[in-house]
Subunit: 579 residues, 2 copies
């Protein structure tokens, strides 16, 4: 029997017999539970695939054989088996690894992946390269946890068998999305499970795949048998494995949605170790929209498979009735459904993570904006205080969405402005609206909200310096203004609110100023400040455009990034003093 | 029998008997052929659905019943039947209608649609609104011509039956994409055709649809029978109709690819009426890439269903062998396949229309850029001289792609620079590259190309005015500089070449200038000039950022749009003279 600390590569498990493999799987699961409960992470997805990962690495020869993991939040066991066990058994090293596959960490990880539904297409590229360059390796895409219903996955599912060569898709069917599954594909998978893989009208066979069903996807023997049967195949195969999300941890098996991803928790009770009592913006959003829905059946909330991320907890979903749409992790369809709902007389509000709305760039443009349909898109976890993982960054949304014609891009500075903007967005029928939810703590300014959102809010006027602080960064602008005031420097303090359109009247009033500073919680390239700089480019003031550099960051410290980009009140003050 | 000129609305055909309907269809086809041959347009798609459109409007009651047409380039007959016959029978009115559904024209047209694969999701929104608001109408999505394989369509195909209410999809199976079909779905449709709809593993049944097959999709009787059988259904239905692309026009039936869309042509011979002998950039691209492919099997060209649009004619495709990938109209998969190909050791070059690469924003960012994979994406029909239809505009690509971290966005000013950039992009392995193909006539400057593309090319230096003309607009900058020179004003003339990164050394050399003018063939918002303006925002020169306004234009006159945006040499000269 191998000691975990001696587990350096998959070669170390090749010689184990079945009992040893099973014992190893249980040891890995125990280690995983200990780390997950202390550290947090994707609980259910990883516990569900312990055996599958062991069997994959037992049967296939990575890194020669190419394993591509969809969404890749279920690769903790894969990491343990490929030279990174220390990051799981030694708490001092817990943070040595990311939560996703990461080529910077290991040659066993082929791609940085965090969005769903990419694995089959990525693997298709690998298989095509192999076929052209003369390789013989197996190419395996491991997909599940609701990723299969995404358009990118379905496009490639359709295309891959045309290669006519070795191509293996493992469909990890844990019977779930993050929340409940949506879409007929999942009902179809259920039919296949219920019939031990024999249900008629098999979609994989329809698309030209050999189909292999594994009834016990947490049984190493069955898994090895299935994987061995397809290893070295000369055509496209789907291995459909029926796994249990959260397997081995009773609280995770019982509440699969809450334990999809969890912060540190008590292993027995499942209770969070550091309960957060504070209100957050997902609650503000969901409560407000739910009120609107109950008052007006035309108001329909939409999610693309992440209801929790927009505050629509299972309890809230229960009372929404027909007015809640979850299309599964299909942002493109969600966006187009919103367009159709508007055309049909409804008032849709599509809540979505800033990082995931990227999938819908074309649908925002074509389905909504060209048709100038007043759909409301509200994004979450935008800006530097969103999610600090490279694959889930939230600070590209301003550059992405604010440059699409017809869209009104709004960024509120506090909760009062936020709910006022939500109401305005729902009530007006002239413009598509993209509303960025703050990622800061919920605050209430108490200021009356001027509902003419095409105008900047000039909070105080004076001096020859203007600081324009957008959204979450208005607080930083205020703070800098306060410091300057104490130094005797009067400042014009502006909350622009709208980032897609310039308030030229307001900007014209700044033409005689000495200095104009713009602050935005996103990359400066393609953003708000550059528009201001261009508008004022032939006028008098020195314009300083502050925001984030155009780069992918990983597991960053937000305060440090802000300082690196000159985004602290003190640095802003220094610009003013120097100018 | 109704006279065509008296055809005002679908009500006018409800009372016709079958013989009259068939005669009407033949009359409409004859009118269509006459207009198409004289005016150009989507020939094959429209000729193939003459009977289907007549039958649809005979059976369903638009606009109460909602008809959503995918891609909508096949709606000419629909337009004839819904009050717009004059635009087809009277040459003086040929241009009264757009080539796509257009709500500005008619209440029978629900959405502006030009990209593929949107109809099912849009219709799902309409159906959901109906269900919530209490309507009873039929909702019909009409999809085909290779649109069904796109991710947005497949996402919605999966979701729609979950509504559990009336939902009708007509799959117009004309056995083609623009070029040959790709993807297993089309092989599956072939199986269904060959078995008169009875092949096993029916994908539509797998996804919960009732399935109805129409063997003769150009037979009005069969079509009416099928449509009547599903009208008023309380669940989701797919009606699979087998039609003939180009039906009734021998040259179009014989060469389906060339007659997918055609400029004016001779009805008998099919020969173009205004043959264009001049070289264009699709030829430059395809010839050059083909040379590279033949010299190096690692070089692989990718298309997403539009090989002709990137110069890969059927003749060229024949010699590419395994080194050519057509994934069908699936830009997302194509982009991810490119990422996989790089990882597998190949050098992929994905050629794509500027308007269609929008579908891949997330894949450009996540699959390619985060992984910093040196894939090469080359877009076509970008800028104001691209396609002047609202749904196919090409002047958003700079704002979209140049703000994605890691991507190097290049815009060549002539053919020599273009092929040099292609070579550089393929040969280097450090950066993902997005290369914008010029849309102007092919020119050769004869200047040596400086291969350090991170540096601007300062073509001439002098005076206190700099004109920085990007890509296609470098010629405009040159022309303005020439005029100014004649007026005795020396100008520094710059071809920036790279639009994603600033050449700060070059820009620093302009800080003492009086005037800097940037020109770009795209919207200024989010574009290149605003970056320059922000960089020089605290320096001396007045910066004028010239480019296009952020707006959707339709069937515009390019010269007029340029003038409206101050983009003529004379207007540029006027700025310099005034400053």
């Amino acid at each position: 029997m191998i000691q975990l600390k001696d587990l350096h590569s998959p070669a170390d498990i090749k010689g184990l017999d079945r009992t040893e493999l099973k014992n190893l799987a249980e040891e890995l699961r125990a280690v995983l539970m200990k780390k997950l409960s202390a550290h947090g992470g994707h609980v259910g997805p990883n516990l569900g695939v312990v055996e599958a990962m062991v069997a994959l690495h037992y049967v296939f020869d990575a890194p020669t054989d190419k394993l591509v993991f969809d969404v890749s939040h279920q690769t903790y066991i894969h990491k343990m088996l490929t030279g990174r066990i220390e990051a799981f058994i030694d708490p001092a090293h817990y943070d040595d690894v990311t939560g996703y596959t990461c080529p910077r960490e290991s040659e066993y990880d082929l791609f940085e992946v965090g969005h769903t539904s990419t694995s089959i297409a990525l693997a298709t590229g690998l298989a095509k390269a192999r076929d052209v360059l003369g390789g013989k390796e197996n190419v395996v895409a491991f997909i599940g946890d609701a990723s299969l219903g995404g358009g990118e996955a379905l496009e490639a599912l359709d295309y891959a068998p045309e290669l006519g060569s070795n191509f293996i898709i493992v469909v990890n069917d844990n019977q779930r999305s993050i929340a409940e599954n949506h879409g007929e594909l999942y009902r179809h998978l259920e039919d296949l499970r219920n019939s031990n893989g024999t249900a008629p009208d098999n979609i994989f066979k329809a698309l030209g795949y050999q189909y292999v069903y594994v009834r016990e996807g947490n049984d190493i023997d069955e898994l090895i048998r299935a994987f061995e049967s397809v290893r070295g195949t000369d055509h496209a195969v789907v291995v459909h494995i029926n796994t249990m999300k959260g397997a081995g941890l009773p609280v995770a098996e019982a509440d699969k949605e809450r334990f999809h991803y969890a912060a540190p928790f008590d292993l027995k009770s499942g209770a969070p170790l550091h309960p957060s009592g504070s209100e957050d913006y997902t609650d503000v959003f969901a409560r407000h929209i739910l009120d609107r829905m109950q008052a007006d059946r035309r108001v329909i909330a939409i999610t693309a498979g992440t209801p929790g991320a927009i505050g629509f907890t299972p309890e809230r979903r229960k009372v929404t009735g027909k007015q809640f749409v979850d299309v599964g992790i299909c942002e493109q369809a969600a966006t187009a459904v919103a367009a159709g709902l508007v055309k049909g007389g409804a008032r849709p509000v599509f809540g979505v993570m800033a990082t995931f709305i990227q999938r819908s760039y074309d649908q925002l443009s074509q389905d909504i904006a060209i048709n100038n349909l007043p759909a409301v898109v509200v994004d979450f976890a935008g800006g530097i205080h969103g999610i600090p993982d490279m694959t889930h960054l939230g600070f590209f949304d301003i550059a992405m969405a604010s440059n699409i014609p017809n869209f009104v891009f709004l960024a509120p500075a506090d909760a009062d402005e936020y709910t006022a903007m939500l109401d305005w967005a729902i009530d007006q029928t002239e413009h598509p609206v993209f509303l960025r939810t703050p990622s800061s703590a919920v605050t209430h300014s108490g200021r009356a909200v001027n509902m003419d959102f095409f105008r900047y809010d000039v909070v105080s006027r004076g001096g020859s310096v203007a600081i324009i602080g957008a959204g979450d960064f208005f607080a930083m602008a205020s703070e800098a203004a306060e410091i300057l005031k104490k130094k005797g420097v009067e400042v014009t303090l502006i909350n622009p609110r709208i980032l897609s359109h310039l308030d030229t009247e307001c900007l014209d009033s700044l033409k005689t100023y000495k200095t104009v500073i713009t602050l935005e919680d996103g990359i400066t390239d393609g953003g708000f400040g550059q528009k201001v700089a261009a508008y004022l480019g032939c006028a008098g003031p020195a314009v300083h455009v502050l925001g984030l550099k155009k780069e992918f960051l990983d597991r960053y410290d937000a305060e440090r990034v802000l300082a690196d980009n000159g985004l602290t009140p003190q640095q802003i003050v220094a610009i003013v003093v120097k100018d």
